[in-house]
Symmetry: C2
Subunit: 434 residues, 2 copies
């Protein structure tokens, strides 16, 4: 890892004698969990803010989340991100450009060696600050690391930065990444409605949206009603799904309109707690042992086809909904940069074991401030859509939800374009690592 | 239909005595075939150009293609589209706002009454010009109508305006609608690559793209290589699909990279001429009796999962690819308006039984001119991707294809935004008709 010691900033400051190398510390940042449009924006905020402090020398990026720390796969971000153009492109690049991971740390009581290896890497790189951008599982990682650090009297500071398209993180008004996916879903529902309504024959379109246990994204489809009548029915994982009631709802809709468009969460469960997707793909598991959730729209389409006998089309928004950076929310991207910056400020201010959260100001005009909360208040918890924001019939959302979500999708994020396609920032994970 | 006789333009011109009502004729326009992002732009071009001629009084829109003419479902577009803002919103609205149809006219020898009914509507509304925006099936409709008109000595002029995301219309350099879908596919491949590459584990993503018999859209995925290495394999319907060769190709790719992203056409067939989708959904037909083509990506994903045993994800771009007006090509939208205008000019100039086509100018700087060609040269024909633009291995496209497609996706089309969502132009098909 000698290459890092020649990093320009360290050398310059050392030779100018502004401070000795032993006083300044390096920092490390990593990304974890499912990709979003905004996780690189928070990375941008962390890196740019860190460059303002004499307390921080180099900013390292661990590749593939905590696994990069474990396996010594680290890049020097102070070298990769230099001019404003780099940061702009990073902020318009979807997914996690450092790579991501779903690796969960064991308890130190089960495997202390994992922690020893991680802190060995920290020591070798003279890390004083560690920032982890992720969801509720990832916050468990930061919490465990900060507790271990306290146990060994390490003075490394650990800060969690939120991200998840699912918006299911507790203690924060909303999560970076949610607004962009919500915006894409809303616009796509408007466009799909234009498409489906152009045919004279009756049809049912069933659109499957991400969110295993929380209906925040499925509910976002309702924003399309600014422009069209769809979605006509919304089924959220917060409510027990009943096939008979569903078929009845669809039949009623077909009495009043030709084109019925339905939003369904991938995580719908019946009264036995069984995922509806399991009826479509029995016993299929994803790579992490979770039940594979895709297939709800196909299952329900087959049901409508056999019971109602009209044209039915299943649509999965699939990974497009979490990476459509070409139509990201400017509000989301701006706030994601800001919360990354705030994480660095908090760490420099002496905080550790904290998670950064948005607090919505109470006035009519939307604005947020950022506070830090203890990690144990957020790790492993899931915030569901409040039941009072779901209509009594269980197939729609109330006006309160609209007031909540409308500001989050405002504005179109900037994209650097080249020959008709957005340009993306790339970190060469192969050549720079080790 | 009395309501139309009070249309402002007719009345004003009549009262001013510029010309007598009997001299001027009305015009009619309709949309047909699968929706695109640009079919409303051509409608905009037809309506705005028609308003410039004293020879044309009102512009009527037939709802749901030729069926609107048959069933007397007509709206007055001169009333609906008044100011520049209306036209701008129409041009940024995807799909066919007049409604569309896949109805095919019988031969007059089989059913003369259909033609009599259509021409009765034309006569009642004093139609002198008929514009039909559609693909190769729709051009068959215009051809039949123009031949019937010639047979009965009608002086109504019939002009076909091209549209199809599939780009399979003959006699034109490219078709309105293709550039926008190609642009969405290219950007989405870049974004999906960012998403898939963020994981450290080997994975294969198989993306299914529209185009029953022509690979123009599947090939467009290659444009993503401006920014990323994907797609790594491209399978087009022009080539016989072989499962063993496919599995071999995938295995080879997995030797050199972790993340393999594959573009497949929905219309892939094996050497028996059987659609690969039929192996996934045996005997499933769509509403027009065609074999349902979706499912290729799911079928091939299952194949890879069982034969190669790695993480595999099927993705269908589904109807999103044909209605993503929020990211339409400015070039496509501009040209689509222009070809609509040219159709009106041709009709006013005395042409009938013609189809409007783009001719690419030979110079280095991309530009097109528009010419008219006889409808019989284009109706019912399909233009496939030239074999010389497909690599010898049959799983990629050559440089010549890039030179062809690059100009077509340039620029981002204008969208009127409202609260973070594009505004759409809506014609109320229920209240205005009859």
């Amino acid at each position: 890892l000698q290459v890092f010691l020649t990093s320009r900033k360290c050398v310059v400051e050392f030779s100018l004698g502004v401070k000795s190398l032993s006083e300044a510390k390096n920092a490390m940042v990593a990304q974890s969990g499912g990709p979003t449009c905004a996780i690189n924006s928070s990375l941008s905020g962390v890196v740019s803010q860190a460059s303002k402090y004499v307390e921080i020398d180099c900013m390292y990026g661990a590749l593939y989340g905590i696994e990069g720390v474990l396996h010594n796969r680290v890049v020097n971000l102070s070298d990769s991100l230099k001019n404003p153009e780099d940061f702009r492109r990073l902020e318009s690049t979807p997914s996690a450009c450092l790579g991501t991971s779903r690796h969960r740390l064991p308890d130190p009581s089960e495997d202390i060696q994992v922690y020893e290896r991680i802190f060995e890497t920290f020591e070798k790189l003279n890390i004083g600050y560690f920032f982890y951008i992720g969801g509720n599982d990832s916050m468990d990682t930061v919490l465990k690391l900060s507790r271990y650090a306290a146990g060994i009297d390490s003075d490394i500071r650990f800060i969690g930065v939120p991200k998840t398209i699912d918006n299911d993180l507790d203690m924060t008004d909303h999560s970076p990444g949610y607004g962009s996916t919500a915006k894409f879903i809303a616009a796509t529902f408007v466009e799909m409605t234009c498409d489906c309504e152009s045919y004279a024959i009756p049809s049912v379109t069933i659109v499957e949206i991400m969110g295993r246990n929380a209906g925040w994204l499925t509910a976002a489809s309702a924003l399309a009603r600014q422009e069209v009548t769809a979605p006509h029915l919304i089924y959220l994982p917060e409510m027990v799904f009943d096939c008979d009631r569903f078929l009845n709802d669809v039949k009623k809709q077909l009495l009043v309109r030709n084109t019925v468009i339905i939003a369904v969460s991938e995580g719908l469960c019946d009264s036995d707690g069984k995922y509806m997707s399991e009826y479509y793909h029995p016993s299929q598991k994803d790579d992490f042992g979770h039940t594979a959730l895709s297939g709800v729209s196909s299952y329900l389409s087959n049901l409508v086809k056999s019971e109602i006998k009209c044209k039915v089309r299943p649509v999965e928004l699939n990974i497009m909904q979490r990476c459509a950076a070409h139509f990201a929310s400017a509000t989301d991207i701006r706030e994601s940069v800001r919360i990354g910056r705030a994480a660095v400020k908090a760490a420099i201010g002496g905080e550790t074991g904290k998670f950064m959260a948005f607090v919505r100001n109470g006035s009519d005009k939307y604005s947020v401030k950022i506070k830090s909360v203890p990690l144990e208040n957020v790790a492993n918890k899931e915030k569901k859509l409040p039941v009072e924001w779901i209509t009594k019939d269980g197939n729609d959302v109330t006006e309160a939800f609209f007031s909540y979500i409308r500001p989050l999708i405002k504005g179109e994020a900037y994209n650097v374009m080249s020959e008709g396609i957005p340009k993306r920032f790339v970190i060469d994970k192969e050549s720079q690592s080790r």
